[in-house]
Symmetry: C2
Subunit: 455 residues, 2 copies
């Protein structure tokens, strides 16, 4: 338990944030440095994201110790703002200490003048590597990889590899494998460092190689990379060009980051929010992320309203319908969201494929019908008792409920499957589509049946 | 590009699944083995999840090569079914090859008789380790860790460590650090294998130790572990008991798995689906995951209906209100979902804290008001033109829109913050709560204002 307290102290907490803001407020530079120094760069980045733009500006003016790690941890929107407050030479120092993949990550979102400052700070080889990476498509393995790789000829012994590593002038910050290559730099397999360390000096590296070996191409989408790292428990993987030559390495921390971003994108898109939304956005940016989606919703809501308006004659005669109709629509919306979310998630994890799509669709129809029947009976009975309707009104409610829950369950899986087939993101706009459908079907079936059966 | 084709062949694809099912259908055991052999255990697990229960049973009866890795990859619901089809000695062989953390993961969800078969298959030390792990709470670091750790006394040199590793009889499948311990087995720091390998034999391990060093306690929640691995880019971390003694190690693949599960839980809970939902569930299990939530929704929908029913007199006079009122409710529901999702996600990533909660709430109110004003003008104008209402009806629509969008934005952030304060999951039920609120406020403000201003 002592441990958790200790960790609490190490990370960010409310008191520490307050102390830091106090130091900023009173312009106590050395006290500020003293408070920030022990923090992990990721925590400093979080701090910068959590405080207000004014506080951020004041803090960065007072504290010039911001290093490359913090810069690479901080989220895009705020990073540009942070870079603007940094003196060019401080910025140059900060980026020089980073691996090339982190520099790429920073540079790719910047405007040209800021890009130039950072590229200018790098040595020639690093600059070339970053510029090469920027020629690959956005969100590709080529942007994700680091150029720095630890390789050994296939015929080396453990001893030769160790001697080479001891002599090496430059090694990446983190590496987990020695990649075995042929004379043309084509990766053949890899050996974990654990196996190198636990084997005798005269052991052949090729005898220690892992059975399974996966490589990526620079043009592979990063979502594919993240999926394979997660699926196959990879720690690092080589990237090879069209000729099969090694051009870089992707490590698990970058893959984990992509996986996290993909999740974020899915959850935000399902909610009808721009996928760059962040808790640290200001009012204007938040409006930019949300208002377009609300505008779409206004359009679809007006379609539902138009459907209802076609039955105003019926409602004028049986006013109770006005109170009951949103129940049918709401139940459909909920059932559709349930089915949709499970399907979108399964598509993301590749658990929903063409092999089982037909069975999943059949299951959804069955679930929709069973739920439809159950809620038809419950709500039909409530319509007669609680709302004092006729038995025929109860039947209308029941039928509309069955229709809408079946449509909802079916649409929830068909819509994302169709989007996927069209090579669109299944999470994008499918929520709006399913909700509109269940609203329209709900109102139309309920009011339509009422018009036919009750008047 | 050749690379991606190659990988395509390695993984699952529709044709391969079809070939496998054909082999099962024709009871061609050796052909089946030949098709399954080259697949990664994770892909075999996916295959078993994607096919129907009947196909699964037939496949497992025909193929007895299922190993421990597949067992540990497969999801809970199906794992029990799979274990039931395995001969006890095959099962025993399968689990014996696993690390203890994977055995714990399998055993913890099983019924007692199945547990006993697996525990009985382990050697004494492994069995004790698994039984010890099971004494820790579910979803804790203690269940996640593996007992196997690579340690060295702090005063050792690189050479001594290498010699020790070369002599070691047993080493974990994967390890990335040598943990430095004092004579009481208290971890002091750790050295990455890369640093060990690249340093001279006479170098002191303690001089190579990493600056930052984080340990966990067996009782720490696994969500905390996953957060820290992601935040601080950890690859592995020691777990220590109350006395500070080393009891195990957690590695990144397990942490990544937990992160993935947490995401899944959030997205499913936000959608009002049981968080064990899976695309491979049958009809009965799917109903069990969804129907309770629909029942809750039926309750809340009836509250909205009751609100509307209080204004039946008003609707009877101005029937157009019935068509317009769902627009106000729907816009509120959407705006609330937007604000809620961003807040829930930010709470999960710990970007929304008590340090910035007040500013986020202020931002949401501002966003709600601006959107409210904008859509008030748009929809008010539509009410007069498209729906042929009076100017006063336009004013009623506009006012109700402002009220509901402001309430929606505010509730979207206040509800999850409150749940968090009460130590409940912010994702759980907050969607239902926010939607109910925006429905009730939407209908009440619109119909109430209409009653006061239009009659």
């Amino acid at each position: 338990m002592a441990e958790s307290e200790e960790r609490e102290d190490e990370g960010l907490n409310e008191r520490l944030v307050q102390d830091i803001l106090d130091a900023v407020d009173q312009a106590e530079g050395s006290r500020l440095t003293q408070l920030l120094e022990p923090l992990h760069p990721a925590d400093i980045a979080d701090l910068l994201e959590q405080i207000s733009p004014e506080e951020r500006h004041a803090l960065l003016t007072l504290w010039q110790g911001l290093d490359g790690e913090v810069l690479s941890e901080i989220r895009e929107g705020i990073r540009e703002e942070v870079i603007d407050t940094m003196a060019p030479e401080v910025l140059a120092d900060a980026v020089r200490e980073l691996d090339t993949d982190d520099v790429v990550d920073i540079v790719q979102d910047l405007e040209l003048p800021q890009q130039e400052i950072i590229l200018g700070a790098l040595n020639r080889a690093d600059r070339a590597a970053v510029e090469k990476a920027l020629t690959y498509p956005e969100y590709s393995a080529g942007r994700l990889m680091q150029r720095e790789a630890v390789v050994a000829p296939e015929h080396w012994t453990v001893g030769e590899a160790i001697d080479f590593l001891r002599e090496a002038e430059y090694l990446p910050d983190q590496f987990y494998h020695v990649i075995l290559v042929d004379p043309r730099m084509k990766p053949l397999s890899y050996v974990t460092l654990g196996r190198v360390l636990s084997s005798r000096r005269d052991g052949q590296l090729r005898d220690l190689a892992e059975d399974s070996f996966r490589t990526f191409h620079p043009a592979d989408p990063e979502s594919d990379v993240a999926y394979q790292f997660n699926q196959y428990h990879l720690i690092s993987a080589p990237v090879v060009d069209d000729d099969g030559r090694l051009v870089g390495v992707i490590t698990i921390d970058d893959a984990m980051n992509v996986l996290d971003e993909e999740h974020e994108e899915d959850i935000l898109r399902l909610a009808g929010v721009g996928d760059d939304s962040s808790i640290s956005d200001g009012v204007v940016e938040t409006l930019r992320q949300r208002t377009p989606w609300l505008l779409v919703n206004l359009g679809t809501a007006n379609i539902s309203a138009w459907v209802i308006s076609q039955f105003e004659g019926t409602i004028a005669i049986i006013v109770a319908l006005a109170a009951l109709m949103p129940i049918i629509a709401s139940m459909g919306g909920n059932a559709g969201t349930q089915s949709l979310t499970v399907a979108v998630r399964a598509l993301a994890t590749r658990d929903l494929t063409s092999s089982n799509a037909a069975r999943v669709v059949r299951r959804e129809v069955a679930v929709g019908l069973v739920n439809g029947l159950f809620f038809a009976v419950v709500m039909g009975a409530l319509g007669v008792t609680l709302y004092g309707g006729t038995v025929m009104l109860g039947v209308v409610i029941a039928l509309a409920m069955i229709i809408n829950l079946a449509v909802a369950a079916l649409a929830g899986v068909i819509v994302p499957l169709t989007l996927q087939k069209l090579r669109l993101d299944p999470a994008l706009a499918s929520g709006t589509f399913v909700m509109t459908l269940t609203d329209v079907v709900g109102f139309f079936s309920f009011l339509g049946l009422a018009t036919v059966m009750l008047l």
